[in-house]
């Protein structure tokens, strides 16, 4: 069995930012610890949801909207890393993902380096 692990931040980022420096360092160390655990293949750290772009395909037409895909019972079902020149190239690949045309969506999140 393999699992894709997706982390939802909730209020964690704000709370971590308010921690004393020593405890913040511990948070980073804990993430590092997870990344170095045997069997874990680290994904890329995800940028903020506000920088996301959501792509849907309806009747062959690509619909692009600002922000993450928000649905009541939606959960991320998978992920992959794409190296592309720009957002337009990424949108084109996203629009080819079957889920995008069967009622789901692909969220494009730029990766970001935080440290």
């Amino acid at each position: 069995m393999k699992y894709v692990m997706l982390i939802y931040q909730g209020t964690a980022l704000e709370r971590q930012a308010a921690l004393p420096e020593e405890e913040q360092k511990q948070v980073y160390a804990d993430y590092q610890g997870i990344n170095q655990t045997p069997g874990v293949t680290p994904g890329l750290p995800m940028g903020l949801p506000e920088n996301a772009t959501t792509v849907r395909v309806d009747g062959g037409k690509t619909l692009t909207t600002d922000g993450p895909f928000v649905g009541m019972k939606e959960a991320v079902g998978g992920w992959f890393i794409l190296e592309a020149d720009d957002l337009d190239a990424a949108i084109e690949v996203a629009a080819r993902v079957p889920a995008a045309r069967y009622g789901g969506a692909v969220e494009i999140r730029p990766s970001e380096v935080y440290w």
Binding site: G47, A52, D66, L87, I91
Partner: protein, 395 residues
């Protein structure tokens, strides 16, 4: 002198900024540098005179400002042992001719990965040269909200990798639609009386039509805006709304009607038959005396076919009512599922009133009034309602 300066600034802001963004690859840096250059010009030019090539002066000054800033940042960064990719400033930039990159800029600002209100704000800020405060006031939001909207949009362009370019052929059509929609939206915001936004939209529309001479829809949009705007003075009398049929035609701007028709002719010569061209053709017919309602109805029919919009159907019903009588119009109106649309009820009310069905007309006017915010439109409905109630009262 002051007017000349303002004109130069107005004309040059978008061009200078677009070129700087293309050169620097950074919206914020380009905007700060452009702002500094324009501020210097505002200070210097009235004293020493406008340089022979204002654009070159502004471009050179802004480029130098950006270079200074990057060097400063680099010194700062080096001091703290950080890596900064800032070599662009060292790339020589031609200082005699500059590419016009306003198209790249507007396509970037109207990228569908940005929220529509952000597209609108960015377009007005970067191409239109409006200040954040001016945009905030035009859209009735606090300046801070508008500033945040702009900052966030610029941040996303950078973070998400929205390209600074005119889209390739396979994306061009839909992206152009998005650009035209933003200009149209700005115009619509201004149609209710905020003249500066309508003027801004026309200015943007003209720039687009110039940059895209072979795109019928760009000319169609400009034509439509010019034609609608030509009746601005006549649409209101002492702040009160006046319907087309009752307008004082001497207050129509004939020069603007002629300019709109010239744009429409251009669009038609390009074999344009898209939504904006059709709407421009309809607006042109509206400006004729007498009005050819049969042709207007036919054009609305074509537009319904293109857009599938019930709002367009409602307009067709109004035209049909003019040619075939209110009953025929009403038959179309009553098939539309636009129950919360105030114009559906005001149109129904008007047609019922003409048919002498005053009780139903009164109910429809009331429903329309209920859906209309305070202002000229609401006062118009109230006047009509009083008239109808008077009719009912006297039997």
């Amino acid at each position: 002198m002051v007017a000349t300066l303002e004109q130069v600034f107005r004309e040059e802001w978008g061009r200078v900024l677009a070129t700087l963004i293309g050169f620097l690859g950074d919206f914020d840096l380009a905007e700060e540098a452009a702002q500094e250059a324009f501020a210097m010009a505002a200070d210097r030019w009235p004293r020493v005179g406008v340089p022979s090539n204002p654009r070159a002066w502004l471009m050179r000054t802004a480029r130098n400002k950006a270079t200074d800033r990057i060097r400063r940042d680099r010194t700062f960064a080096t001091k703290f042992g950080l890596l900064v990719a800032a070599d662009r400033a060292e790339v020589p930039m031609k200082t005699t001719t500059f590419p016009d990159e306003r198209l790249e800029l507007i396509f970037t600002c109207c990228h569908p990965a940005l929220a529509v209100e952000a597209q609108v704000a960015l377009t007005l800020r970067t191409l239109g040269g409006l200040s954040t405060d001016e945009i905030a006031r035009a859209f009735l939001v606090p300046e801070r909200t508008m500033a945040q909207r702009l900052v966030r949009a610029k941040r996303k362009i950078k973070a998400a990798g929205i390209p600074f370019r005119v889209p390739p052929v396979h994306l061009f059509r839909e992206r152009l639609d998005a650009v035209l929609a933003v200009v149209y939206l700005i115009f619509n915001e201004g149609y209710g009386g905020r003249d500066e936004l309508a003027a801004e939209a026309i200015w943007l529309g003209r720039a687009l039509a110039e940059m895209l001479p072979h795109e019928p829809e760009a000319h169609g949009l400009l034509a439509m805006m010019l034609l609608h705007d030509s009746r601005r003075e006549a649409r209101f009398s002492d702040g009160e709304l006046v319907l087309l049929g009752d307008q004082d035609r001497s207050r129509w701007n004939t020069e603007q009607i002629a300019a709109g028709r010239a744009e429409l002719d251009h669009a038609l010569a390009l074999r344009g038959r898209g939504p904006y061209v059709l709407q421009a053709a309809i607006a042109s017919l509206h400006a004729e005396v007498p009005c050819d309602w049969a042709q207007i109805a036919a054009l609305y029919g074509e537009l319904t076919h293109l857009t599938g919009s019930p709002v367009v159907e409602l307009n067709r019903a109004i035209a049909i009512a003019e040619t075939e009588g209110p009953e025929a119009g009403l038959r179309i109106v009553d098939q539309l599922g636009l129950n919360d649309f105030r114009y559906l009820h005001s149109t129904r009310a008007e047609l019922l009133r003409r048919l002498g069905r005053t009780d139903e007309a009164r109910d429809a006017y009331r429903r329309a009034r209920q859906l209309t915010d305070d202002g000229a439109e609401r006062r118009f409905l109230e006047r009509r309602l009083t008239e109808v109630e008077g009719t009912t009262f006297s039997g």
